[in-house]
């Protein structure tokens, strides 16, 4: 669908214009749903109702925010460059294997631009990575500049700040080691820098390995939602933020904002906030101008999600956008929406635990008969799904949402760490294929939920028999189990084990010894 060949017109995300009438109807459905929760005659248990109420306020806030973001999406038109100022290409490396960095370096050298210098920002030495010398060799082999830091501090942010101190070009384009720029990267983006107030131009992240497995597909489909309607919508409010890689940045704007903040692991997000505070502009260009790698397994995915969640939540708690001077209202809202997204984990888990309270203790949060609630809920949920489908140009998948919900415990851990101020080691997204690994430790909370849910259903059936309330709550447990399932599914190569088992079992019926030789000599 989106080959990364260099063509005259790059692949781009579709600009979806949602009929205003649909947005209005959807908004009406959301508000209608909200009114049910504000009618406190439905309260069963105040504690559980309170928890659900908070969760639902959060959901409503999120969908209203989404609606607000995609309310209108404008086309970004190509701007012909007036001049071709010097540009540095920064490739940040921190222990990635040489082969991966090499592709990026080779591609960067091929970028079609008159005044270009490629630098490898090698952080391997200060991060204690074994292969830091390989990267220096690579630079020599490809005849590009390698900036190897010797003074540690500030992780990726420190690495970039250090590079800025030893380079001079007025613009730099930043790529992670595994994000390979296309030849036309600069020619498509530099024109937007004609505007002297333009601080950075962000382009989407594209995962060329998206079809490798369930995780890479799900991760890519989440990116499609983010780099599709969400980022395009943010453009309207000048609220696009720098997303770590694939961005062209004006040096003066970044330095004006104090450089890359080194105290946060969401250095890109926070830097954007500071840049916007000082009145600079930003742009999201929805054209695919580089291709990278998706997290390949459950461990890498969990690490990536944890990092994003921790960084965003830190920003929300320490630099709450609502109280930042210099931002417009729309920018404040957009920053708050993006940072607050990771509270999702807590909210999902609150929702997920409510039915368990009924199953074990017979406590119900709400005291209303099903039909009435469904009248409010059904338009809300069905229109939410339809609106998602429409706004993503029919690309959103169940898998993407499932994978997000399944990661709720990861988000919860990030939230706890953020609130308690616990230090977290920066972890690089895995680029190495661990095929058939054992990641059960990441899925333990999800497995516990399944187990507790099943026990709860059996317990409630034993206590009440088949009543509508038991059926409804059991259905909710099933609902949550389905959403939590991907982490369990990806935690272990179950299928290979099952296939193996079946083969073993079938072996019993085949001719030859009753016990297969494989079992006798497991060392083989």
């Amino acid at each position: 669908m989106m080959p990364h060949t260099t063509k005259t017109t790059p692949q781009k995300f579709e600009t979806v214009r949602i009929p205003r009438i649909l947005s209005m109807v959807y908004l009406a459905a959301v508000l209608f749903y909200a009114t049910w929760w504000l009618d406190f005659s439905h309260v069963g248990s105040w504690v559980l109702y309170g928890a659900l109420l908070i969760a639902e306020i959060y959901h409503v806030w999120q969908v209203v925010g989404y609606l607000y973001t995609v309310w209108r999406i404008d086309d970004v038109v190509y701007v012909k460059p007036k001049e071709y100022p010097p540009v540095d290409i920064f490739i940040t490396v921190c222990g990635e294997p040489r082969e991966i960095v090499e592709q990026t370096v080779a591609a960067a050298k091929l970028i079609d631009y008159p005044d270009l210098k490629v630098h490898i920002l090698n952080d391997g030495l200060v991060a204690g990575m074994a292969n830091w010398r390989d990267i220096e060799d690579l630079g020599r082999d490809h005849n590009v500049d390698v900036i190897t830091r010797t003074t540690p501090g500030g992780a990726k942010a420190g690495n970039i700040n250090h590079a800025l101190s030893v380079t001079t070009a007025p613009f730099f384009a930043l790529f992670d080691a595994d994000h390979v720029p296309h030849k036309d990267y600069l020619m498509r983006t530099i024109g937007h820098m004609n505007d002297p107030k333009m601080a950075f131009v962000q382009t989407p992240q594209y995962y060329k390995n998206r079809d490798d497995n369930f995780i890479t597909r799900g991760a890519w489909e989440q990116q499609e939602l983010f780099f599709g309607p969400i980022c395009q919508g943010k453009n309207r409010m000048n609220a696009t933020f720098w997303c770590g890689t694939n961005a062209l940045i004006r040096r003066r704007a970044l330095l004006d904002a104090g450089g890359v903040p080194e105290k946060s692991i969401a250095e890109d997000f926070l830097a954007s906030l500071f840049i916007h505070e000082r009145g600079w502009k930003s742009l999201y260009l929805p054209e695919i101008l580089a291709h990278g790698l998706a997290p390949i397994d459950l461990e890498a995915y969990s690490a990536q999600q944890y990092r994003w969640a921790r960084g965003s939540l830190d920003v929300m708690f320490k630099y709450n956008p609502l109280f930042r001077k210099g931002l417009t209202f729309a920018q404040k809202m957009q920053y708050l929406y993006s940072a607050g997204y990771y509270l999702n984990g807590l909210v999902v888990l609150m929702d997920a635990f409510i039915p368990l309270f009924f199953l074990f203790f017979g406590v119900v949060p709400v005291d209303d008969y099903t039909g009435n609630f469904v009248i409010y809920f059904a338009p809300f949920i069905f229109l939410t799904l339809y609106f998602l489908i429409r706004s993503t140009a029919y690309t959103i998948t169940f898998r993407a949402i499932q994978l997000t919900i399944a990661a709720s415990f990861v988000f919860l851990m990030a939230l706890i760490a953020s609130v308690t101020g616990k230090q977290t080691r920066f972890k690089v997204t895995s680029k190495v294929v661990h095929d058939k690994g054992n990641f059960i430790s990441y899925a333990i909370p999800n497995m516990v939920y399944v187990l507790v849910g099943v026990i709860g259903v059996v317990f409630a059936l034993n206590r009440d028999g088949v009543t509508p309330a038991v059926i409804t709550n059991a259905s909710w447990v099933l609902f949550n189990v389905v959403f939590f399932w991907p982490f369990i599914q990806e935690a272990y190569p179950w299928r290979a084990v099952a296939t193996d088992f079946v083969q073993q079992a079938m072996g019993i019926f085949k001719k030859g010894p009753l016990v297969s030789s494989k079992i006798i000599t497991p060392s083989e």
Binding site: T370, F382, T397
Partner: protein, 588 residues
């Protein structure tokens, strides 16, 4: 469709076999659904609504027309039934066959309609849903207008979609014809026309035809002109009835008294559309599983091509009538799931479309499970005697017939239970209703303590036992029963179906029987008439009463004779007259 080319490489043979197997299974399911429509068609007694149809259809076509002017329904169906009964008689199996025919025809008709929306294999799946639909099966076996209404609805949408796609004159002709039939079948048919109107303008900019763009210019305007013409024909076709409605009594005095619906009725209605009628426990459990439906809708999210704008007709056609009905019912309650059977054809197509749009694996699993659930529920609906819509008037009335003697009286409550009762009743005691109601005259009397007291006095007089046939879920039955319970001694009670009871009360002891004002004559007459009793109101004359009950004055002598009235000009307010029932044979 199930044919596979014989030259297929062997590698794909497995898939083709699976596909053929699935298609065969769907055909078997359709066959099963049709069988369940026919099976034991006459075995159950007529239900309340059915007996009303039969009672009305036993009269002349003129009477049917006059009666329907006061009713909430239209005359077409009962007129057809009238003619049908002339040919085939009034037995249960005979009259229900008239409902069965459109009920069976709706299944293939739905296939052709579904094919206009979705691919043939999913149209076949929609047909399987329709064939198995417990709701459709129920109304294919009930002699009311609902199966006919369903068939006409399908035809109407078919012609409408064909018009949108092809814009040919023949479809306009078909459209006009079926809509005229529809308009005379049920008032809710007008909601179909409204849906079609709304959808036409919603998709004003959409071109449905696949003709070259050059020919499409102005196509919608041509369509609009033609639709206006068809509209004029429809209006002309309906004006005669409107004229009668306006010049006669005005509709609605015989309207059933319904409760104002709340949100739960809407939910329940969709469950009935999909799953049919079951015991309250089972229905509540089915409704309780609603989060599964929400979960199912998430599976819909996948990479897909945008849906055809024609699909939009499905949600509009499903939701708009229900929404209008619900809102209107807050002022004038008319919210009954069977009235909205007009949304079911599109609902079944929508479900088939939805399942067909799921990712491959979920599609097979969800599609298979859904048909299996429908099959089980259809069987349950067909055999479970506790299903609340199953009304066993036949046995109840036969029981009464075998128990009563000439000095007893049979009382049906609420009053319209008189329809099924009189269909089966052949006992020696007189039959009346409580409160006393003259079914030709108008609506059921209001239930007040005064009326209950006055009518009980009239009923009690001269009778030893009251056989009280009551359907406890109907409006007014509770008040009547409570009144009897507190004022009389109960001798026995007996249940016949979920809500149908016979209570036996002691009225007056036979020895104490006192003559009624006009008494001796009718109490002593040899033949105790099986009919209504009437309390003469001030200002009433015997001829007025006669006309009201029979629609002609010639029957005056019957009332005079049976009540032993010497001078027809002399009757007094408060006199109790016995009004003999006209037996079907005499009308036909």
């Amino acid at each position: 469709m199930s044919q596979s080319s014989s030259s297929s490489p062997s590698a794909s043979l497995g898939i083709i076999r699976w596909y053929d197997l699935a298609i065969s299974a769907i055909w078997a399911i359709i066959g099963f659904g049709l069988f369940m429509r026919v099976w034991g068609l006459g075995a159950e007694g007529l239900r309340l609504d059915e007996s009303q149809s039969v009672w009305q259809a036993m009269h002349s076509l003129d009477f049917i027309r006059e009666y329907m002017l006061k009713n909430v329904h239209l005359p077409l169906h009962n007129s057809l039934l009238h003619l049908w009964m002339l040919l085939f008689g009034p037995s249960e199996a005979s009259v229900r066959t008239l409902a069965l025919i459109p009920g069976i025809l709706s299944v293939p008709a739905l296939y052709f309609l579904a094919r206009e929306f979705i691919r043939p294999r999913w149209a076949l799946y929609a047909t399987a849903i329709a064939a198995l639909s417990p709701f459709w099966v129920w109304y294919s076996r009930e002699i009311r207008m609902y199966s006919l209404l369903t068939l006409i609805t399908i035809f109407s949408y078919y012609a409408y979609v064909k018009i949108l796609k092809e814009n040919r004159v023949r479809w306009y002709v078909l459209y006009a014809l079926v809509n005229i039939v529809g308009m005379y079948t049920h008032y809710f048919f007008f909601l179909i026309l409204l849906v079609q109107l709304v959808y036409f303008f919603l998709t004003w900019r959409v071109r449905f035809s696949d003709r070259p763009p050059g020919e499409q210019v102005g196509e919608k305007r041509t369509m609009l002109r033609r639709f206006v013409l068809v509209g004029a024909v429809l209006v002309a076709g309906f004006v005669p009835w409107l004229y009668l409605l306006v010049t006669n009594y005005g509709s609605g005095s015989l309207a059933p008294i319904l409760e104002k619906p709340d949100a739960f009725n809407v939910i329940l209605q969709f469950y009935e559309f999909m799953f049919g009628f079951h015991t309250d426990t089972l229905t509540a459990s089915l409704v309780g599983g609603w989060p599964i439906l929400i979960l199912g809708s998430f599976f819909f999210l996948s990479k897909r091509a945008p849906s055809s704008p024609l699909i939009l007709l499905l949600p509009v056609g499903i939701l708009l009538p229900v929404a209008i009905g619900f809102i209107a019912s807050q002022y004038l309650p008319l919210f009954l799931s069977r009235y909205f059977i007009i949304v079911t054809p599109l609902l079944f197509i929508f479900v088939a479309w939805f399942i067909g749009e799921l990712p491959t694996r979920s599609r097979i699993a969800v599609g298979g499970v859904f048909l299996a659930v429908l099959s089980v529920l259809l069987i349950n609906q067909s055999i479970d005697p506790r299903v609340p819509t199953r009304e066993n008037y036949r046995e109840a009335t036969q029981y009464i017939s075998s128990q009563v003697g000439p000095r007893d009286i049979v009382v049906a409550s609420p009053p319209y239970l008189v329809y099924p009762t009189q269909y089966y009743y052949h006992g020696d005691a007189m039959l009346t209703t409580y409160p006393i109601w003259d079914k030709r005259k108008g609506g059921i009397p209001a239930i007040t303590d005064e009326i209950l007291e006055q009518d009980l006095r009239a009923i009690k007089v001269g009778h030893s036992r009251i056989f009280f046939l009551v359907s406890t879920d109907l409006y007014g039955s509770k008040e009547s029963k409570t009144y009897l319970d507190t004022h009389l001694t109960k001798i026995a009670k007996h249940q016949f179906s979920k809500n149908l009871w016979v209570h036996v009360y002691q009225a007056e002891y036979a020895s104490k029987a006192s003559p009624t004002p006009t008494g001796e004559s009718w109490a002593e007459s040899e033949e105790i008439p099986k009919g209504m009793i009437h309390v003469v109101a001030p200002g009433e004359t015997l001829s007025k009463i006669t006309f009201r009950y029979y629609g002609d004055y010639l029957q005056l002598s019957r009332i005079q004779k049976i009540n032993g009235i010497r001078d027809p000009k002399i009757i007094h307010p408060g006199d109790i007259l016995s009004i003999p029932e006209i037996t079907p044979q005499k009308v036909l």
